[in-house]
């Protein structure tokens, strides 16, 4: 598959702060990537470097296998960083026309893209009169103007109300469904879980994981159990079982992490034979949130 972006040993220091530490990963065409990390983990700095607005301390990155210089490559990229930045005294259409001039493309797609983000009716309003949600949608329209090879979004739903968040996510999903490569930075896990096929987890500038979302931890899943009586004895019994690792208690529910593959029927039979009757038993994959917390805590 075609490599769109490749980072090699990227490093950025702000004085004593090591914002990005020896970061390497590749972005392949057609996938939807999420960069996950807590606030201040170096997500925006990484995006700033590849977008030519932050200077790297050391390391390399190349767009489209190094076939294009960074600023030429950026004409084929659509990107939104943090807050939407436009000229407040220009209307939506005028702002987009300026971006067309910078990217060296024709202005004919402006109306189409404004329609995609539901701003067509307001196209002649000045940017300064827009709400944050509208500004963010205009930013997405501007990023789509050149039908980009890759769309880079940094915290696209930050600061929006639930309605706005929903609208932006709908738009992102539509774009992803068209086969556009997306790189989405966020600290909102459900956002990444809903949209992304691949994920890169970073903390304090260090890469903890990169790969498919569903292979993030080598986990065999979890069991949720509930009994009405003899709970302590159940915990003891489970702890001695060869397939079960750690057991934690969440309110009334016991959560057992599996070391080995075991079906819920097997465990149910086993416990019933030992004299325990469960009132609740669920086997499931860990949520992205749990995987993320496991990763960031254990490293």
């Amino acid at each position: 598959m075609e490599t769109i972006l490749s980072l090699k040993n990227l490093d950025k220091k702000y004085g004593a702060v090591h914002a990005v530490n020896n970061l390497s990963f590749d972005i392949l065409k057609g996938n939807v990537y999420g960069i996950l990390g807590p606030n201040g983990s170096g997500k925006s700095t990484t995006l700033g470097i590849i977008l030519n607005v932050v200077n790297r301390t050391s390391g390399e990155f190349s767009w489209f296998n190094g076939k294009l210089t960074t600023h030429e490559a950026l004409k084929k990229v659509g990107a939104i960083i943090e807050r939407p930045n436009f000229y407040p005294y220009m209307t939506a259409t005028q702002n987009l026309a300026l971006i067309c001039k910078i990217k060296g493309i024709s202005t004919e797609k402006i109306d189409e893209k404004l329609t995609t983000v539901n701003l067509f009716e307001r196209r002649h309003s000045k940017f300064s009169t827009f709400s944050l949600g509208m500004k963010q949608r205009l930013a997405i329209a501007s990023a789509l103007l050149n039908d980009p090879e890759i769309l880079i979004l940094d915290e696209p739903t930050n600061g929006l109300d639930p309605q706005g968040i929903h609208e932006i996510r709908q738009i992102i999903k539509t774009i992803a469904a068209n086969g556009t490569t997306i790189l989405l930075a966020s600290h909102l896990l459900d956002e990444v879980e809903k949209v992304c096929s691949h994920v890169i987890v970073i903390r304090k500038g260090i890469k903890l994981y990169s790969g498919r979302v569903d292979e993030m931890t080598a986990s065999n899943g979890l069991l949720e159990l509930k009994v009405d009586e003899k709970e302590d004895e159940l915990i003891q019994l489970l702890e001695n079982h060869e397939a079960i690792g750690k057991i934690t208690k969440d309110h009334e529910t016991l959560i057992a992490t599996l070391k080995k593959e075991i079906s819920s029927a097997e465990i149910n039979t086993y416990l019933f034979n030992k004299g325990f009757v469960l009132s609740h038993l669920v086997k499931r994959k860990p949520s992205l949130e749990q995987q993320f917390l496991d990763l960031t805590n254990s490293n």
Partner: protein, 281 residues
């Protein structure tokens, strides 16, 4: 180059404040012609400026470029704000992300500066030509088109001055502070001049020695490009002669001054680029 100019023009076109300042500036340039209407009468003493010879070719080139250069402050505001606005709107970052390189960004501003200076020069040329045609005592072609180096000096002066403004706009990122910084720099140059006078006080030719050093400073060199034209005026000169004063000053545009200002222009633009390149946005 044309692409960069149209990008910058697009940004200016919709900005009301800039548009008004530009219109005022060119309006004032045209109104130089109004000087022709100035008439004083004190009893016997009559002064009609148009008749005093200020619109005679080739003196008019010197006089009008000097007067027109005073108006450059209106355009300075436009130029400083077109730079600092990019910081306050954070559109500089967006421009770079959209695929403008840092070099192109600086060049688009510099080309605009050149365009402004060029249009101003053409404007002054046309206004002076018309005024001269109407009021000048000499209308021979050879005289009309002599001393045109004042127009070149005017152009170089504006480009240098606006480049200084661009640099300060990038350096301090706020238009009001950038204009203030230019004022502070003017005070620093003046204080330095005072200090030089004080140092060379005992020596002969104090003034010459001070000028020999001062000519290398940016604002002083821009001032030197077009020297004040008033003492050159025939009427003033004859008045001075009767009082026993003689002027031996050279009013010509000097090549070294053009070199010095060109050097500063290059330095300001290059420093702007270096500053932008080094900064994280």
């Amino acid at each position: 180059m044309l692409r960069l100019l149209t990008i910058e023009f697009h940004k200016l076109k919709y900005n009301k404040a800039s548009k008004i300042l530009i219109i005022i500036y060119f309006g004032l340039l045209t109104s130089i012609a109004l000087i022709a209407a100035i008439k004083f009468e004190f009893g016997n003493f009559k002064l009609h400026l148009a008749d005093a010879g200020i619109f005679n070719f080739p003196y008019i080139w010197h006089f009008n470029t000097y007067i027109a250069a005073i108006l450059k402050f209106f355009l300075l505001l436009v130029i400083v704000s077109m730079m600092s606005n990019e910081y306050s709107y954070k559109t500089l970052k967006q421009n770079l992300i959209d695929g403008l390189s840092k070099k192109e960004f600086i060049l688009s501003k510099f080309y605009t500066v050149i365009a402004f200076a060029f249009v101003s020069t053409i404007f002054v040329f046309l206004v002076s030509l018309v005024l001269g045609m109407v009021y000048s005592d000499y209308n021979e072609l050879a005289i009309i088109f002599s001393d045109l180096d004042y127009l070149l000096a005017f152009f170089i002066k504006l480009v240098g001055f606006f480049s200084f403004g661009l640099f300060l706009g990038i350096l301090v990122k706020r238009s009001a502070f950038a204009v203030g910084a230019m004022f502070v720099w003017l005070i620093i140059e003046s204080m330095f001049k005072g200090y030089l006078y004080w140092t060379f006080n005992g020596a002969e030719n104090t003034g010459e020695k001070v000028d020999a050093v001062m000519q290398f400073l940016p604002l002083e060199s821009m001032t030197n490009l077009i020297k004040e034209p008033f003492s050159r005026l025939g009427a003033v000169r004859s008045a001075a002669n009767t009082m026993g004063e003689t002027f031996t000053k050279s009013y010509a545009v000097e090549f070294t001054t053009i070199l010095i200002v060109s050097f500063w222009t290059f330095a300001f633009i290059y420093l702007s680029f270096a500053l932008l390149k080094k900064r994280d946005l």
